[in-house]
């Protein structure tokens, strides 16, 4: 078995109109910039995929990565916890103009809903959000005298994930806090596509150090020197560059 894919274009070829796409990362750390840009390339060449629902903690920063994906108009709805950043102008303008839908979810609830999707737990109860606007319309149940909010799982058609090393069976490691939502999203999508900076033979990762076991991964693509969103934004980058 070898889950390696030949290139980024192949890696994102399965994303089609109307899909729900989880995109890993917390701000720029762990964001699969190259996979996102490959998706933009396809849209610019073919007009697809569009009408995407994107799940990410944030709403992008500057004009690269997730912000660029939103800027192209490919995203119909965003599910996130914190759509602010140093430079959130792309999302903010579209949101205030009513051009993009937002589902705001507390960060821990977002993480747990994604894990629940991956773990076959259709719903769970959390104290988070009880008595606030974000629990509006949600089922409330009391346990041991305390009120909790019922939350549903989140699943996706595709997850685009950034890991550090991967073996050909799809076992993954991450780099420091770039781990964040990535291992959860691997579990919660029908198809998980991962960019890694190194592809190893099976046995190349210590079995004790595997963070995402290969069962959660469908495809791996090599991006040896991934760009970091913060560096791109500090350099004033835009994607695609032609838009400059």
């Amino acid at each position: 078995m070898d889950k390696t894919l030949p290139d980024l274009a192949t890696a994102v070829a399965g994303v089609t109109d109307g899909m729900t796409v989880m995109i890993g990362g917390f701000g720029g750390s762990g964001a699969p910039i190259e996979l996102i840009h490959a998706l933009i390339d396809r849209f610019l060449a073919t007009g697809h995929p569009r009408d995407l629902t994107v799940i990410n903690n944030n709403a992008g920063n500057g004009h690269v990565g997730l912000a660029a994906l939103i800027e192209t108009g490919m995203v119909r709805k965003l599910i996130c916890s914190f759509p602010r950043s140093a430079d959130p102008v792309v999302f903010t303008e579209r949101y205030l103009a009513g051009q993009i839908e937002l589902e705001l979810v507390p960060q821990g609830t977002l993480a747990e809903r994604i894990r629940a999707g991956g773990a076959g737990i259709p719903a769970f109860y959390t104290p988070t959000g009880y008595g606030t606007d974000l629990a509006h319309g949600k089922k409330i149940e009391e346990f041991d005298g305390r009120a909790y909010v019922q939350e549903r799982w989140l699943k996706a058609d595709v997850a685009l994930v950034k890991a550090h090393h991967g073996d050909r069976l799809g076992n993954l490691t991450y780099r420091m806090a770039a781990r964040n939502f990535n291992p959860l999203m691997c579990m919660a999508a029908s198809t998980t596509i991962v960019q890694v900076s190194r592809i190893l033979p099976p046995g190349g990762i210590d079995p004790e150090s595997v963070i995402t076991p290969g069962i959660f991964v469908q495809g791996l693509v090599l991006v040896e020197n991934p760009a970091q969103e913060e560096d791109l934004n500090r350099a004033g980058a835009r994607y695609p560059e032609a838009a400059l």
Binding site: M1, R115, G117, G118, A119, G120, I121, D167, R168, L169, N171, M187, P201, P202, G203, P207, E208, V210, P213, G214, I215, F216
Partner: protein, 223 residues
């Protein structure tokens, strides 16, 4: 007495349906035998509830490491690409629908797909393990079993009489006499031993066998 497949032959037959690269959980005991018969050129990846993916065969006697065991508490070995994880992640794999197939033993299977394989009734000490999770998690749940009980009574029934493991979960039965799918609440006969007549097989089966297509011969090596 009717000719029938040995447990080893049933395990062999079940192994033929496992695709290359499939993620597979084998129930403890008899189903573990399925791992021995992977067809040439195919390699399944085995999952065990206690937190290993991609483990290898049993070690030589005396070479056991008792921190490296399967759900049946038998020693296994590492293979390149093995991964360890804790029990909640392990059952996320199970419950979350990430396993391609689970192959389990059975006391009874109903034409509804209901399975009874954990309790023979109120006497004794009940024990369930991971079976109830597996039957609602794996994409495909298959059973391997003798076609009848030791007393010659059918194990394939209209309804289970023993406490259920899961409702409407089994999709294929590999028995000592036949291969039977469960579709829309019916047993659908796919293969039977060539020496066995349809009416004899029906008489050993506790619910109607549907035969919408030609029945193949169930042929296995001498094992």
């Amino acid at each position: 007495m009717t000719a029938k497949l040995t447990p080893t032959q049933i395990a062999w037959r079940a192994a033929q349906d496992i695709a290359d690269g499939a993620y597979v959980n084998l129930g403890i005991g008899f189903p573990e035998m399925v791992a021995r018969f992977q067809p040439p050129g195919r390699q399944a990846i085995f999952h065990t509830e206690n937190g290993i993916l991609g483990f290898g065969e049993a070690p030589a006697p005396g070479a056991e490491d008792w921190d490296l065991i399967n759900a049946g508490k038998k020693a296994v070995t590492l293979k390149p690409g093995t991964a360890f994880f804790h029990h909640a992640d392990s059952f996320a794999m199970v419950r979350g629908g990430h396993l391609d197939v689970a192959i389990l033993g059975a006391y009874e299977v109903a034409e509804t797909g209901d399975l009874a394989n954990w309790s023979t009734g109120p006497k004794g000490v009940p024990a369930v393990g991971g079976a109830m999770d597996l039957v609602h998690g794996a994409k495909r749940v298959a059973v391997i079993t003798d076609h009848v009980t030791k007393d010659g009574k059918p194990k394939l029934l209209k309804r289970c009489t023993l406490p259920l493991t899961g409702v409407a979960c089994v999709t294929r039965v590999y028995s000592s006499l036949a291969v039977i799918d469960i579709e829309d609440g019916h047993f659908v006969l796919r293969e039977k031993l060539p020496s066995l007549s349809l009416s004899d097989l029906q008489s050993l089966t506790g619910a109607e066998l549907h035969i919408p297509a030609p029945v193949q011969d169930l042929v296995t090596p001498d094992l």
